[in-house]
Amino acid sequence: MDKPTLSLEEIAEINAEIGHYPDKAGVAIEALKIVQKHRRWVSDECLVAAAELLDISPAQLEAVATFYNLIYRQPVGKTVIHYCNSVTCWMLGGERVGERLCRHLNVGLGEMSKDGEYTVLPIVCLGACDHAPVAMVGDELKLDISEDAVNELLGKR
């Protein structure tokens, strides 16, 4: 069987990052993020291919990949919603935001909704505690989430 490889675009983006670091291994996190940007998550095959590109062992790259909250090693929906569950958001109803989303989408944390659109995950403090509770929808920070979390975060009217 042919070995699955990264796309030329992914390889070009990773190589461009290599120039910023004196050691290829320094690009480990960037490489994982580049793969994820193109594929939403990092499969075993992609991880091995990226490790090869960086001249490090797959185990070394896996140790990095599994360490970080924002690298997904299993498939996620098109939009990942991270709701903050740290202290101020917790105090002001952050957990309920997560519960409402999961109930509406009929998923557990980390699962993909049936239509493949969403995954809901908790995240640590997003640095907007004066607007708690908060969440991140894709790359976008949403502030002052009310009881109507589902409509506010999923954009349904």
């Binding site: 996190i29 990095v64 991270h82 740290s86 202290v87 505690c129 004066d130 920070l141």
Partner: protein, 424 residues
């Protein structure tokens, strides 16, 4: 020269539109750099910052100029690195994000001056992965700075060259610890390193490395531009300068304000945050983020100086307060904090890796009505076993600060869970 008493936030507008390079330069931006690079030697810049009395704003409060002066042999050309620690992830902390999103050139100018002071030619911004807007604005500002000759070869016609690389992380609290940050930047699992050697001597890729917090670096241009005397005049107490202070929780107006160091905590909570929301009373507060000890209403007159808050039994930390009201259970609040620390422990050393989940289990059991009186002794024991000196880094000792102070100040809340069960 127009002076200001809010140097860090003077360009931050209420509508939150961000300061462009033109905006930044119109209020004295890049003048501090000009002065440093054309009039002063690197050692002079170190001395200026030392004399001004700037201390680290990331939590530990180490003297910034002193830190710079500890980099060995800056007269000998060799690779050195400067890193801006922009991995803001301490729960309850929301200050560096504002600085980077609203006035990105301030950080960049501070970094160029700092790099000049330690003769580093490469600098990294270690930005947390969740700060997407900050990434866009910093990226944009870095390009602007390059095109105007503030970055690159022969900055402002001098012999000094610098490149700044923006590195975005992928979400892990431990990366804020400076030796873990170095490992992360090298592409390794972000576990802390043993010290010594200190990063100042052997840091990133084995080279001398200075790591400063974003807010710390943002102070630097103003010290150079407006002068030492002006800077010292900004503090109200022992410590110099201003600081971003914040309050979150059930206060009337949660927010962030640039205020003089030495300001009484009461003024921040009562005047700026407007006191508690109607129907809630102040029970206590964490003065500087999740890893600081609780203080009580009786401590409201303590002033926000490094030593004053320490004397009261806590730390100024990041200066962003988390306020506990009378309708939130302190035991459950501590459980939330300890769950955070247990999750974010890197797993490198045993007390932290095993002690934090144990702490979480005990707290959960107590809250579930399955606690026994001796559990409180076990928790107290854990605060010692996970305390300073027993772990590789400050994560576990920091995690123990809210727990040990909660056991002291809110003991009756813990006991209530247990006695209800024991009498049942």
């Amino acid at each position: 020269m127009e002076q200001t008493n809010k140097p860090l936030t003077k360009n931050i507008r209420p509508d939150r539109a961000f300061a462009t390079l033109a905006d930044y330069e119109s209020t004295g931006g890049y003048q501090g750099l000009r002065k440093a690079i054309t009039e002063l030697q690197p050692k002079d810049v170190q001395q200026w910052v030392k004399d001004a009395g700037l201390r680290g704003r990331g939590g530990a409060g180490f003297g910034t100029g002193l830190k710079w002066s500890m980099v060995p042999d800056i007269d000998t050309p060799q690779t050195r690195y400067l890193i801006a620690n922009a991995d803001e992830m301490e729960p309850g902390t929301f200050k560096d994000r504002l600085l980077m999103e609203q006035d990105p050139h301030q950080l960049i100018e501070g970094m160029i001056i700092a790099a000049y002071a330690i003769q580093a030619n490469i600098a990294y911004i270690f930005l947390r992965g969740e700060y997407h807007l900050a990434r866009q604005r910093l990226d944009n500002a870095l390009q602007e700075a390059r095109s105007k000759g503030f970055l690159g070869e022969h900055i402002l016609g001098s012999g000094f060259s610098l490149e700044i690389v923006l590195h975005t992380s992928a979400g892990r609290y431990i990366c804020g610890e400076e030796t873990a940050l170095i490992n992360a930047l090298e592409g390794k699992r972000a576990t802390p390193r043993a010290k010594p050697p200190f990063p100042l001597v052997s840091g990133l890729w084995g080279r001398p490395t200075v790591i400063n917090n974003v807010e710390t670096l943002c102070n630097v241009p103003h010290i150079l531009h407006y002068g030492i005397e002006w800077y010292q005049g900004l503090g109200r107490g022992v410590d110099k300068g201003t600081k971003l202070f914040g309050a979150s929780g059930r206060v009337k107006y949660p927010g962030l304000w640039e205020l003089p160091l030495g300001i009484p905590i009461r003024e921040i909570i009562e005047n700026y945050a407007g006191g508690m929301k109607d129907g809630y009373k102040l029970r206590g507060f964490l003065p500087g983020g999740a890893s600081t000890d609780f203080l009580l209403p009786e401590h409201l007159d303590v002033v926000m100086d490094y030593e004053a808050v320490a004397k009261a039994g806590s730390r100024m930390g990041t200066g962003t307060m988390i306020v506990l009201d009378d309708k939130t259970c302190p035991v459950q609040m501590v459980l939330n904090l300890e769950q955070f620390f247990a999750q974010e422990s890197c797993g490198w050393c045993t007390p932290c890796r095993d002690g934090l989940p144990w702490t979480v289990t005990l707290l959960k059991d107590i809250i579930a009505g399955k606690g026994r009186s001796e559990d409180l002794d076990t928790l107290a024991g854990l605060t010692r076993m996970l305390g300073p000196g027993n772990t590789f880094c400050a994560l576990a000792p920091g995690a123990m600060e809210p727990l040990q102070s909660a056991l002291k100040y809110f003991r009756e809340d813990f006991e209530r869970y247990i006695t209800v069960k024991e009498s049942a």
